[in-house]
């Protein structure tokens, strides 16, 4: 078992820098999910860990050993590719055992390991088939098997589920999680799907334009997003953002939409009038009339059975999405309240989270 440490990783392709100094420490047996929009550098980071790309700057350490200059094969790792990359002319068993054969393991040992992995994944019956005779889910399992037989220090996954249909994806997701727990192998998993990220990861790395915007547990990220990008990326429907200014000596925000709301968790540091972005998740907006209620003019209602997602505009023109239990109203207007304890406070410029002083 092993740890993985990426320190100050930078990567340029020609003149374009795509990773701007990423730090990440993966603990032994931990599953870390790298999540972010397409093109933000997730795969590049994973491939640097794999040794398929050489970082322009920074070091990669596996189990404390600096492997930055080592070939992928010498890093004692295994990777599952998005398109599985199973060799079409080899049987499933040959595909799984190929790496071991190259390492010069005795045939009996290769056989034993392949059988063991196949049993673990429930693909014993497929060992003699060719990849093209398999369904997407089966190929996925074989690709996993190929990684497992190597008994590596580190598993790397690059969007391994994105070629599966929705139902299978959920099933394989759970299976990968179970397997990873059971084997206890340190893992790095790349996805652009936030649900996948939230359900799979012990911790997430939310990547944004070549930076690690936040590294934390899924719940931490959901509850305390480090900036507006992370806040908007994690959670569905996405968090609402409203404009406001710091007021009352940092104790409250004056929303452009009207009300001034006192922070529930204490005053924020910063000059009076500091432009803020206030975030609130759609499920935290309450539909109730009252002192601080705003009038939401609905323009779209999406009923989802047990709940409804309402899209509307506040009097000042800002958009607000509300998620309510029950069927919700059809159209018209709705009085809404923004509970102080559900607000996320960000500095408007740069989008950084602004926490209470000393808190």
């Amino acid at each position: 078992m092993a740890t993985l440490e990426l320190s100050a990783i930078r990567k340029s392709f020609g003149p374009v820098e795509v990773l701007h100094g990423v730090d990440l420490a993966v603990a032994d047996g931990e599953m870390i999910v790298i999540v972010g929009a397409s093109g933000c550098g997730k795969s590049t980071l994973l491939r640097i860990a794999a040794g398929l790309e050489i970082p322009s700057q920074g070091r990669v350490r596996i189990a404390g050993r600096d492997v930055t200059a080592l070939e992928p094969a010498d890093r004692d790792i295994a990777m599952v590719f998005q398109n599985y990359a199973l060799y079409p002319h080899m049987s499933v068993a040959q595909n799984m055992g190929y790496g071991l054969k190259i390492r010069g393991l005795p045939r009996a040992e290769i056989d034993r390991r392949v059988r063991e992995a196949a049993a673990l994944l429930g693909i014993e019956a497929l060992l003699d088939r060719r990849p093209r005779q398999l369904s997407g889910g089966q190929r996925q399992r074989v690709a996993m098997g190929r990684a497992i037989v190597r008994e590596p220090k580190l598993f790397l996954f690059d969007e391994p589920l994105s070629n599966l249909d929705a139902k299978l994806r959920v099933q394989m997701r759970a299976e990968i999680r179970r397997l990873q727990r059971r084997l206890g192998v340190t893992s790095l998993f790349v996805t652009h799907d936030q649900v996948e990220a939230m359900t799979l990861g012990d911790r997430l790395v939310v990547m944004h334009q070549g930076h690690a915007a936040q590294v934390a547990t899924p719940m931490e990220i959901w509850a305390k997003p480090a900036d507006t990008y992370v806040a908007g990326f994690i959670g569905s429907p996405a968090m609402n953002f409203l404009k406001g200014r710091l007021t009352e000596g940092g104790r409250a925000v004056a929303l452009e939409a009207g009300p001034t709301i006192r922070f529930a968790d204490g005053p924020r540091p910063g000059p009076e009038g500091l432009p803020l972005t206030i975030g609130i998740r759609p499920e935290h907006v309450r539909a109730e009339a009252g002192g601080l209620a705003l009038t939401l003019t609905l323009d779209l209602v999406e009923p989802l059975g047990s709940e409804a997602v309402l899209h509307g505009r506040l009097p000042n023109g800002e958009a607000l999405v509300v998620k309510l239990a029950g069927p919700g109203p059809r159209d018209g207007t709705l009085p809404v309240a923004l509970p102080a304890e559900a607000l996320h406070v960000f500095v408007a410029e740069g989008g950084r989270r602004l926490d209470p002083a000393g808190g």
């Binding site: 794999a50 590719f81 002319h89 190929y98």
Partner: protein, 295 residues
């Protein structure tokens, strides 16, 4: 199964359904087809029949359309004695060696060149590729005199090496393999790196097996090309030791006034057999390769 049967069952009435065209135009179409078949097949048929008659029959100017009784005699003579001093067996052997070496050599060299150009980053890679590409525009005929000079200075006239080496590089095959290699997903290369396969192992264990179909197809084309070579062997193979069957036949016809046409035709039939055999044999392999591998 049942669905295919059903559709086949449906197809029958559908086929009968379109109104029959006027018998006249149908007959014209058939006549043209028949004419085509005759134009292609008749010369072959005449050669085949001619090779079974004695020299006198053809000498009289008859064109036999039915088999005669001298087949064994003619073929034995063609094989053992030949028409212009070189036994047919010897010429066939020379042609086989030349065509096989050219086909295999071209495949080996071009697949390795394409592998280098596609999978490796090295200085002047682009330049290497373009210089291969440009040689496409330089067929043997264009460079034939300088090539002959080099070959003769090297003492390779009238050797197999002289026959084979000057035509063994193939820009066309290199480009074909290059196109094919570019369709091999990067993920295979990366998976192989993870597996610890170096460049040679990757070539041997992944690239070659995936290229089987392409190699089979190219082998057919290149073997026939090599077999039918004329201009270069005419220049460089002047001794009996390395004379190819194509050259031999031309000599048989050209050298003497009293050409033994029956022997020429028998040699001709013999010369046809290897390329036909290669096409037929490789066809099966080719189809097998197609059904068994995919990317």
């Amino acid at each position: 199964m049942s669905t295919t049967e059903a559709t086949q069952g449906l197809a029958l009435p559908a086929e009968a359904a379109p109104p029959r065209r006027a018998g006249g135009s149908d007959r014209v179409a058939h006549a043209i087809l028949l004419l085509g078949v005759v134009l292609f097949a008749l010369p072959l048929w005449i050669v085949l029949m001619g090779s079974t008659h004695d020299a006198a029959t053809i000498g009289r100017g008859e064109v036999p359309l039915l088999p005669g009784g001298h087949a064994v005699e003619n073929y034995t003579a063609a094989w053992q004695r030949g028409g212009a001093g070189v036994p047919g067996g010897r010429m066939l052997w020379n042609s086989t060696v030349m065509a096989l070496s050219i086909a295999l050599g071209k495949i080996a060299i071009s697949i390795i060149s394409a592998y280098a150009v596609v999978f490796f980053r090295f200085p002047f890679r682009k330049a290497a590729f373009w210089s291969i590409f440009i040689t496409l525009m330089l067929p043997v005929e264009v460079r034939i005199f300088p090539t002959f000079k080099v070959v003769s200075d090297l003492g390779m006239v009238n050797t197999y090496a002289g026959l084979i080496i000057p035509v063994i590089a193939s820009a066309t095959a290199t480009l074909l393999f290059r196109q094919f290699f570019m369709t091999i997903p990067d993920e295979f290369v990366e998976a192989a790196k993870m597996d610890g396969a170096g460049p040679l192992r990757f070539f041997w264990d992944v690239v070659l097996p995936l290229s089987r179909t392409n190699m089979a197809a190219l082998f057919v084309i290149l073997f026939v090309y090599g077999w039918n070579q004329y201009l270069w062997p005419l220049l460089v193979a002047t001794s009996a030791d390395v004379e190819t069957v194509v050259i031999g036949m031309v000599k048989m016809i050209g050298s003497e006034a009293n050409t033994e046409w029956n022997i020429v035709m028998a040699t001709c039939v013999l010369a046809l057999l290897p390329p036909v055999a290669v096409v037929i044999l490789m066809q099966r392999w080719f189809v097998k390769g197609l059904t068994e591998t995919e990317k």
